[in-house]
Symmetry: C2
Subunit: 232 residues, 2 copies
DNA sequence: CAATTAAATGTTATTTTGACACGACTAATC
DNA sequence: GATTAGTCGTGTCAAAATAACATTTAATTG
């Protein structure tokens, strides 16, 4: 068979929007780009899709390079493909968001990429169209988290209710009512109360909870629903 | 500046999942592929991204080629990029869904591509990974339409409430209650009742409505909301 | 042991949802 | 011109979900 002649072949990259939560703030992991163009500017972590590699695998590889972490929750977002977005050569970039437990990252830390966590409201200017990518990722995180319990991916194995609530407040940039939030959260049946408390952030201490992984899988698509009981 | 040497350049295509609604059924527009491989098999309409073209523009161009329509509601979906998905040469395909008023299409009909509308539950086997693309598009349509009034894009300028309801029933594959649906729909403030009726489908006739385009734009992000009043 | 600080909890009013049935309108037919 | 047939359009009520609201409890600190 013949090839598709006369068509343009294009560089295909992936860029990762990596979210983390330190218990107080939702953060984004950025690197200082190590090569021209735009060397030493802040950037998303990215890389090119290799000849025998699925884009998903490229994204996982790139994420592992930076964070040392595997089996991270990732989701494909938009492709950015304006002809002039990379001044060197045309490149389309597939974006992914990744949700990681920031503490796990710290354990695996490698400083090869001069990475830093930034609060979402203090993100520096980024190269190319990476600002737009981040903006879109924040948006998609809101959509997804309104329907599915993905924010637990940002939390450590044991977490407290005040922590989750802060996380939701950060993601949606709202103030929530403790009592109503707790009630709703409990009604999901996703939480298992532990006997010990987190004493780091208050004198009284807040009880730890774990995620009930069985119900997590069951309820993933039914966390909160809309058009009553749609089958997604 | 130097190029990114040693990296693989890949063909980048777009494929369009084109939805239409004829007043009774939600349908998908497919073509008979006109070249090898898989010549004469059913396929999504697609094309390659040109060297100076945004992917969005490629999708619009491809859509116009097939349907003759411009300014159609389109949205980028997933990229499919498995190395072996196209047996001829590696190609990553960016998928888009398009929502069109089927009647407008019929006016613009060109038969160059041997296109046909298929009911969603009667879709033939498609080439490559196009089945997966369609599956994903159906899913995304549900998500999106649960939060935003995009299904109006599928309707003609004047439409009836029974029509919209049928559309929602098709998209979510449920039976809806006429009274509750009407109440909810009216509460959106999106509809403007006309004085004339559609007499085609019943003796009594159903009043036509038009979309209130001002409130449509205002309410687009607040059609139905979830985490109470999030700013998307 | 008093003061401080954040955690945990319950009630009520309001809004939204879901379930449910019948009369009205018009074209077609006799 | 009366009858029939078929879809359109509408209202009520009970149940569930949501939003608003304040006090008590647990533990540390001085």
């Amino acid at each position: 068979m013949t090839k598709y002649i006369k068509q343009t072949r294009i560089l295909v990259a992936v860029d990762c929007i990596i979210f983390g939560f330190d218990g107080f703030n939702l953060k984004l992991l950025l690197i200082k780009r190590g090569f021209e163009p735009e060397k030493n500017k802040w950037s998303l972590m990215g890389g090119f899709v290799q000849s025998d590699e699925k884009p998903e695998d490229a994204a996982s590889r790139v994420l592992k390079q930076l964070t040392g972490l595997k089996n991270v929750y990732m989701e494909q977002l938009l492709v950015f493909g304006e002809p002039e977005r990379d001044p060197i050569e045309r490149t389309v970039s597939i974006t992914y968001f990744a949700l990681i437990d920031i503490k796990k990252y710290e354990k695996q830390l490698s400083d090869d990429y001069r990475a830093e966590w930034f609060q979402l409201d203090r993100i520096p200017q980024l190269i190319f169209d990476h600002d737009k990518m981040v903006q879109h990722a924040k948006n998609r995180l809101r959509y997804k988290a309104a329907l599915h319990p993905i924010l637990f991916e940002l939390l450590p194995e044991k977490f407290t209710i005040p922590q989750i609530m802060t996380l939701y407040e950060q993601v949606y940039d709202v103030q929530l009512d403790k009592r109503n939030f707790t009630r709703k959260l409990r009604s999901t049946g996703l939480l298992i109360k532990q006997l010990d408390k987190d004493k780091e952030n208050s004198k009284k201490g807040a009880f730890y909870y774990k995620l009930d992984k069985t119900t997590y899988k069951e309820k993933f698509t039914k966390f909160l629903n809309f058009v009553s009981n749609p089958e997604y």
